[in-house]
Structures are given as structure tokens and as C-alpha cells.
């Protein structure tokens, strides 16, 4: 095969890959063609073709960057949101299924709809505190801390929650706001009278974890420990944000990775545990857009 034939074959291949949406592969083939041309005396003079290939490479680079940067999820229709809600709820128990559906909506970045669903669940749930926390998290993920505070004020003035639960939620709200560096005026509630013990808060028997420290098992950052605020919690599965800027951590935190040391911080203190990474996905909207949400299932 002559060099000219090689270039022709490479360009044809590159064009098909481009049409197939295999942009990285197309770029590689265009580059290969360009390289052959630059080393061939006869082909070097074909300036028009070289310019054309260079233009195609520029276009591909732009497309690849757009794909990488395209983090905004499309505005999902009501139908699709309903489909997500129904398709990703598997429990037979009505309430558990409703929570699964709302959590799925949140995971797909549909925080407004998820918040609406959680609010409906709040009307009948046996776990109002856990649901309320997820509503607050949804508001914060849509960059609406004011809405979170507004809703909290509504709860504080209503009769859905006991006084102890409101105090607990207030502490939670303040904690998550502080961890995000948000300063908002949260109406401070008075605590229980001195010497009295607040009623136990029913929260699905789950410990509310506000942040975790993680020591990695392997990789170049073996002793690396970091404070991760918890974004979502459902039972013993928590979701934390890993900044995209921490490329090494983003790279090594993969599905199935064991985390032998997880320090959990909660309102009642510090607990040492372990866990497994069960998911990692790019955050598509909200204040954490572009970062990665990592799901960690904590061991019992």
C-alpha cells in the first residue's frame, strides 16, 4: 500500500468513526493520516488536504470538549419522571417503594420532583425525620438553601414534628449549611429544659451521618484522609461528593472498592466503621455540578 493509499484509508476510517460518534477513535485516525502526510515529501505539498484534516481535528476537539462539559441533564418531562419513579422502586411495601422512587429521582438529578415526592411521603411516613432530611438535601442540591430554611420554618411552626425532632432537624440543617459554607439566618429553637432528656427520635433506626473521613486501602494515596460531607443517606448507604479536581481520588474510587476505615460523624458522636463503594456518578446540576457523587454502603 502506498502512503497515499494509507492516508486515503485512514481518512475513510476516520470519517466513518466520526459518523458513528466514536470521536476519540476518529481523532486518532485523522492524526495518523496527518502524521504520514507530514513525513512524506510528496504528500506534504497537499496543503489543502492538510488544512482540511486540521480543521476536522479542531472540530473533533471541540465536540469532545462539549461532550465532557455537557453536564446539564435535559429537562425531563413529567412522563419520564413518573417512569423513573415507578421503574426504580422495587419494594412491595408502599412507603419503601415511594422512598426508593424519590431517591431514584434524586439520583437522576431531578431534585425538584424528588423533593415533591418526599413531601408527599412526609404526609404519611413513619420516618418523618429521615424524609425531612432528604427534602433539605434536595433543596440544597438545587442551590435553594432559602427554600430549605423556609420549609424548616414551616415544620417548626406546624405539628408534624415533635419539638425534639425540630431541634434535631435544626441541628442537621445548620450542619449541612455550614459544611457548604452557606450562611443563612436559621431561626434558633430553644432546646429542652435543663436536666430533661428529649424524646428519642424515630428515624428508621438509622444513624444520621453528617460527614465521613475515609482512609483508602490501596493506591498512591494510601494514608489519605479527607472530610466528606454526606449528601444523601438511605439506610446504611451514604452518598458523598468527591471534587473533580481531585483526579487521583476520582480515579481510584471505583465500584466495589473496599474502604477498611470509615470514620462517621453524627450528631451523637463519632463512629468507626468500614464500607464498600457501590457507585460513582457525575453530578449533573446544582452546586456540585461537575463533581462526582460516590455511594458508599457502610458495613453493619
Amino acid at each position: 500500500m502506498t502512503e497515499q493509499e494509507k492516508v486515503k484509508a485512514l481518512l475513510k476510517e476516520a470519517s466513518v468513526y466520526k459518523n458513528q460518534g466514536l470521536f476519540t477513535q476518529a481523532k486518532e485516525k485523522f492524526s495518523n493520516a496527518l502524521e504520514i502526510m507530514s513525513q512524506s515529501g510528496a504528500l506534504q505539498s497537499n496543503e489543502a488536504l492538510i488544512a482540511d484534516i486540521e480543521e476536522k481535528l479542531r472540530e473533533l476537539n471541540t465536540t469532545l470538549k462539549e461532550i465532557e462539559d455537557d453536564t446539564q441533564p435535559p429537562e425531563l418531562s413529567d412522563d419520564v419522571q413518573e417512569l423513573i419513579k415507578k421503574s426504580f422502586a422495587f419494594s412491595k411495601d408502599r412507603e419503601a417503594a415511594a422512598i426508593e422512587g424519590a431517591m431514584a429521582l434524586a439520583k437522576f438529578g431531578q431534585f425538584d420532583k424528588a423533593s415533591k415526592e418526599f413531601n408527599e411521603i412526609l404526609e404519611y411516613t413513619r420516618l418523618p425525620v429521615m424524609i425531612a432530611k432528604n427534602i433539605i438535601r434536595c433543596h440544597l442540591n438545587t442551590s435553594s438553601p432559602e427554600k430549605a430554611v423556609e420549609q424548616f420554618k414551616g415544620w417548626a411552626g406546624g405539628d408534624r414534628f415533635s419539638r425534639e425532632e425540630i431541634l434535631h432537624l435544626e441541628e442537621f440543617l445548620q450542619g449541612v449549611m455550614e459544611s457548604r459554607g452557606i450562611a443563612l439566618d436559621i431561626p434558633l429553637m430553644e432546646g429542652p429544659a435543663a436536666g430533661t432528656q428529649g424524646e428519642a427520635i424515630q428515624e428508621d433506626d438509622e444513624l444520621d451521618i453528617s460527614s465521613v473521613n475515609i482512609r483508602l486501602e490501596s493506591g498512591s494515596e494510601k494514608e489519605w484522609i479527607e472530610d466528606f460531607p454526606v449528601e444523601f443517606q438511605s439506610g446504611n448507604t451514604i452518598s458523598v461528593i468527591v471534587p473533580v479536581s481531585n483526579k487521583e481520588l476520582v480515579r481510584i474510587m471505583r465500584h466495589g472498592m473496599r474502604l477498611p476505615v470509615v470514620q462517621c460523624f453524627s450528631s451523637i458522636g463519632f463512629i468507626l466503621g468500614s464500607g464498600t463503594v457501590t457507585g460513582k456518578t457525575k453530578v449533573l446540576q446544582g452546586p456540585n455540578q461537575g463533581n462526582f457523587m460516590v455511594d458508599i454502603r457502610l458495613d453493619d
Binding site: A9, K12, E13, V16, Y17, Q20, G21, L22, F23, Q25, T63, E66, I67, D70, P73, P74, L76, D79, V80, L83, I84, S87, F88, F90, A104, K107, F108, R254, H255, G256, T278, G279, K280, T281, K282, M293, D295
Partner: protein, 204 residues
């Protein structure tokens, strides 16, 4: 996880199209939607992003009519193939009853096929399922590109790469032209229903 409604005698199953990014999963569903209108029971929903890449999933509901006195409905889903959407793939895979693995026949996608199949195996394991005990059908897609003189893998090579241990039915195809799409889905549905019948004794 098929849903049985004994009162109305309706069974609803979930089939997921899995495979590497840009391998033709969505094109399979599009073809089924266009060519099998008499079976579809609703619109096809796609949630894609820049460059027509699947962002969350595609969804197509189809109805098979009555099988042994039961109304059989199938929900067809695709997963996003891009590596970065691992979490979404896992979610879509939840409750799956049958799988179509759409492999890309292009030589340059050989490694992507193998990695995607491994990803599928891992994700099923996470769900407490074995790939060897789940109804799976392989489709070697984009065979039509051979006509354009592009380097594609021989079917034998793909069989060796992907089906040596699985030993499941496989079909050469071109989702763009519709070749092999029907037989792939049909076989997957047969295996899925057979598996459900065996597992749950639903038709007895």
C-alpha cells in the same frame, strides 16, 4: 424481577440492552419501535445528551399478547454505555429479567466490548445475580460496516472473546439496517420467559 399480577393474569418483565458506548443499543430499540409497531404499547422514551449519547436510559414498552393464558408485557431498557455512567447502569440493571449484550464489531472496539461485558458481570453480581444464570443473548452489531471496507472482527473472534464461557445464543446483526434485531430480541424473550417459568412456575 418480573411482576406477576395473578388477579389480572398479567406478567411484566424487564429486558435490558447492555454494551459499550456507541455500540448500537439505542439503534436496536429504535428499530424495534419502528418495525414492531403492532407490539409496542407506548412511545419510546430516550434521554440523551450531546452527540446523541444516552444519558440515563431509553425505554420501550411492548406487549406479546397472551402466553399460556397470561398477558405478557415487556419493558425494554438500554443503559448508557459511557464508562462514566457506571452508577446509572447499575440502577437500570436493577430487577432485570433478560439481557441483550450489544457488542460492537469494529476492531477498534474489541477492548471496549470485553470491558463492558466484565462490567455487566460485576454489576449483576452486585445485584446478587450470576451472568451465567441470567438469560443473555449476544448481538454482534455493525456487521454492515464490512461492506464499507472498515476493519471489523470476524464473528469467530468475537465468540472467542465474549462467548467462550457464557455459551449463550449469539446473532450477527446491523441495528441500523434492522438485520438480526428481531431474532436477537425474540431469542432473548424466549429465554427470559423460559427462565421465569422454570424459576417461578408461573404458567402452571
Amino acid at each position: 424481577m418480573a411482576i406477576f399480577n395473578a388477579q389480572e393474569r398479567v406478567i411484566e418483565c424487564k429486558i435490558v440492552f447492555y454494551g459499550p458506548g456507541r455500540g448500537g443499543k439505542t439503534t436496536n430499540l429504535e428499530y424495534i419501535y419502528k418495525a414492531g409497531r403492532k407490539y409496542t404499547t407506548g412511545e419510546m422514551l430516550s434521554i440523551d445528551t450531546k452527540g446523541d449519547r444516552t444519558l440515563f436510559f431509553d425505554f420501550l414498552p411492548i406487549g406479546l399478547g397472551k402466553v399460556k393464558g397470561w398477558e405478557v408485557k415487556m419493558q425494554l431498557f438500554t443503559v448508557p454505555g459511557q464508562v462514566k455512567y457506571a452508577s446509572t447502569r447499575k440502577m437500570v440493571l436493577k430487577g432485570v429479567d433478560g439481557l441483550v449484550f450489544v457488542a460492537d464489531s469494529l476492531e477498534i472496539r474489541r477492548k471496549a466490548n470485553i470491558l463492558s461485558l466484565k462490567d455487566l458481570q460485576d454489576n449483576l453480581k452486585e445485584e446478587g445475580k450470576s451472568i451465567f444464570k441470567t438469560p443473555v443473548v449476544l448481538q454482534y452489531n455493525k456487521r454492515d460496516l464490512e461492506e464499507e471496507g472498515l476493519p471489523i472482527m470476524p464473528v469467530e473472534m468475537m465468540e472467542k472473546d465474549l462467548n467462550t464461557r457464557l455459551k449463550v445464543p449469539s446473532f450477527a446483526g446491523s441495528a441500523l439496517k434492522g438485520t438480526g434485531v428481531g431474532p436477537t430480541l425474540k431469542r432473548c424473550m424466549e429465554l427470559t420467559l423460559k427462565h421465569l417459568r422454570k424459576d417461578l412456575d408461573w404458567a402452571e
